[in-house]
């Protein structure tokens, strides 16, 4: 209870689902052999933390930010550039963290002070503009970021797949640097989600919810709403940058497509909405559903598209083409905003299936 900050899932089904997800993630290296399963599991961990941090903004303060991938990208690039430039050692990892996190927080502070002060709706537009400028900047400054190609780098010795920590003869499976990296990602993500849970259930989190419900009234109660919103924005940026660091460490790469592109922003939005806004737990559910679907449904779409084109149907092959995955996602997105505004978690909490 202490661990969950007095905010348990409050639904038996939800608890069960969460426990299953977390156990499955923790046991992935042993349960599901193969690189793909481990990749998917690591991505779920990273995105669960990233989406949870976005939920702090969208779900708890009600402000829509389109710059979340920017902070994610700052984290990714900071560690990638540090490891690329300084070579694979722990000093480089530390440098990346020491440079990346404050940079993300400062930028979030600047954006927050600048746009949260004005009308709330400005925030969404300004973050979109700033994020797109940042994206262009990252792809143009190729001497630093590697341009469109991004930066590949090597990890410190301990985290490399070649490093065998516990040989196969001991337990029947090998524990190598790759699995250690996975557990690093898993543990840090879990810690960040627990920390966010703590934040939203603190008095500070209550003020954020008050601002979401009625900013004017919160201000009338004497809270400096701009301070609270900016603080939340910085916190979310810090967690997002950390998630970016984890992602870059896992992929051993940072580039515009994996860390900055607008489609990642849309993915995050979708995961929050599907999982349930303003619940933090929704982030875990949303990320799991989405990434599983992204990795395994897309191949299904390819099969369907091929079948449709062989049957000679017009238009359908184009619509079902795996590259058109976002189209169906968009439709799902609209439908979930419309029909399930509280997301999976909201549904489960309100007692399964019945209207909240």
């Amino acid at each position: 209870m202490m661990l969950l900050s007095g905010d348990p899932p409050r639904s038996r089904v939800l608890t069960l689902v969460l426990v299953v997800i977390i156990l499955a993630l923790a046991a992935t290296p042993f349960l599901f052999p193969g690189a793909k399963a481990l990749n998917v599991a690591a991505k779920i961990c990273v995105f669960a933390a990233l989406v949870a941090s976005y939920d702090l903004l969208l779900g708890y303060t009600g402000s829509v930010s389109f710059a979340h991938t920017m902070f994610y990208g700052i984290g990714s690039y900071a560690i990638a550039i540090a490891l690329y430039g300084m070579g694979p050692n722990w000093a480089a990892v530390a440098t990346g963290i020491v440079v990346g996190l404050p940079l993300a927080a400062l930028l979030a502070l600047a954006i927050g002070l600048f746009s949260l002060r004005v009308a709330a709706i400005f925030f969404a537009m300004i973050t979109l503009a700033v994020a797109s400028a940042f994206q262009v900047l990252a792809s143009q400054l190729s001497w630093l970021t590697g341009g469109e190609d991004g930066r590949s780098f090597q990890l410190p010795e301990l985290l490399r797949p070649g490093t065998v920590l516990i040989s196969k003869s001991l337990f029947g499976f090998e524990v190598n640097g790759r699995i250690l990296t996975f557990y690093l990602v898993f543990a840090v993500s879990a810690l960040m989600i627990l920390a966010l849970l703590r934040v939203v259930n603190s008095p500070f989190g209550r003020v954020l919810q008050a601002i979401r419900e009625n900013r004017f009234r919160a201000e009338a109660l004497g809270f400096r709403t701009v301070f609270h919103l900016t603080y939340a924005n910085c916190l979310a940026a810090l967690v997002a940058a950390s998630a970016g660091i984890l992602n870059a460490l896992w992929l051993r790469y940072a580039g515009p497509d994996t860390s900055l592109s607008f489609s990642i922003m849309l993915d995050i939005l979708l995961m929050v909405v599907i999982g349930g806004m303003g619940t933090i737990y929704g982030a875990i559910i949303g990320a799991t559903i989405f990434i599983l679907a992204q990795n395994y449904l897309q191949s299904l779409m390819g099969v369907a598209s091929k079948a449709a084109s062989e049957a000679g149907l017009p238009l359908l092959p184009g619509l079902l083409h795996p590259d058109r995955w976002l189209l169906w996602l968009g439709l799902l997105f609209i439908a979930s905003v419309y029909f399930f505004p509280t997301g999976v978690v909201g549904r489960l909490r309100s007692g399964g299936g019945t209207k909240p």
Partner: protein, 336 residues
């Protein structure tokens, strides 16, 4: 406050001209920086033409926000749809586009532009009914819904037209430039300027000189009051939304001809651009939008010439500077 007799005319509202002087001042300041007057004139003409096109695209967005308090994140989709629909007309009539006669060219261009406006206007009707009506008055959901709409529209365009770039050649009579001494001004830019000015004047006339415009302006000020007076404000909103979408479609056609290509991702890059313009101008203000569009285009053109590296972030810098000066944009129309 001075006492007014019943027969006295109402005091004129104070005119705020500082924002109008801003682009003029910017243009004057850059003369010595650029050095050559002919280059400066060419750049200024280019900025004005680009600004007019951006204005046409952004005007709908700002009107819709001012009147309906709806922020349409999918506005860029109307632009791309307009451009794609125009290619449907322009491609089969490529022959008369190549003919070296202004009238032959316009005879194809005008129907193409009208069809684009009709299609994007009709799409506006659907979007308003399906996506915006259910979440009326809820900003958060509006943003989410219209973002979803943007994704769906963009992906549908990919599915229908494919991911490749479609070339849209300028008609022959609009190629080349008018040459005055050593100043060259592209013909198409002159046309763009004329259309942009016409749209601006038309919007201003409708808003300020007709009963419809009176109702729209009253609706911006106080929706409940207009409703209480017995006008169906929802109808009015729908009309404004469709007009805004149609204008975005027109802007899309013009932009496609300007860049001589169409691509589904154009909606993304233009969405950012028109957002910057609308924020600079002050949400809901047509005049502010006009000045904002010209400012953005000027900064892009002058900036691109003077400090090419800066051009990438020039929009953001401009926005920051303007918002430092006036936190609600050049003209703050609504109290929201």
């Amino acid at each position: 406050m001075t006492e007014l007799a019943a027969t006295d005319p109402l005091p004129k509202p104070k005119r705020d001209i500082a924002p109008i002087l801003l682009p003029i001042a910017l243009a004057l300041v850059t003369i010595p920086l650029i050095g050559s007057p002919s280059t400066w004139l060419t750049l200024t003409a280019a900025s004005l033409a680009m600004g007019m096109m951006i204005f046409i695209m952004a005007s709908g967005l700002t009107l819709v926000f001012g009147l309906m308090d709806v922020l349409n994140f999918g506005h860029g989709a109307f632009i791309a749809v307009g451009a794609y629909v125009a290619t449907l007309v322009l491609a089969p009539f490529a022959a008369s586009m190549q003919a070296d006669s202004l009238w032959m060219n316009l005879a194809v261009l005008a129907p193409a532009a009208l069809l684009s406006m009709a299609v994007s206007g009709a799409l506006g009707l659907i979007v308003e009914r399906v996506l915006i009506l259910p979440v009326y008055g809820q900003h958060l959901k509006q943003i989410l819904m219209t973002t979803g709409g943007l994704i769906v529209a963009e992906q549908t365009m990919y599915a229908l037209w494919g991911p490749q770039i479609i070339p849209v050649p300028l008609p022959t009579s609009l190629r080349g430039s008018f040459i005055f001494g050593d100043v060259a001004i592209a013909k198409y830019r002159v046309l763009a300027m004329l259309i942009g000015l016409a749209v601006f004047v038309a919007i201003q006339l409708v808003l300020n000189r007709t009963k419809l415009g009176l109702l729209i302006r009253a609706g911006v000020e106080n929706r409940e009051m207009v409703e209480a007076l017995g006008y169906r404000i929802r109808r009015l909103f729908l009309g404004v939304f469709m007009t805004g979408s149609a204008l975005a479609g027109l802007g899309g056609v013009m932009w496609a001809l300007y860049r001589e290509q169409v691509h589904a991702s154009m909606s993304d890059e233009l969405t950012v651009l028109i957002f910057v313009v609308v924020i600079i101008g002050g949400l809901g203000s047509i005049g502010g939008c006009f000045i904002g569009a010209i400012l953005v285009a000027m900064v892009a053109n002058y900036g691109g010439f003077l400090v090419p590296k800066l051009a990438l972030v020039s929009n953001i810098l401009l926005m920051v500077a303007i918002l430092m000066w006036r936190p609600r944009g050049l003209y703050a129309v609504t109290s929201r």
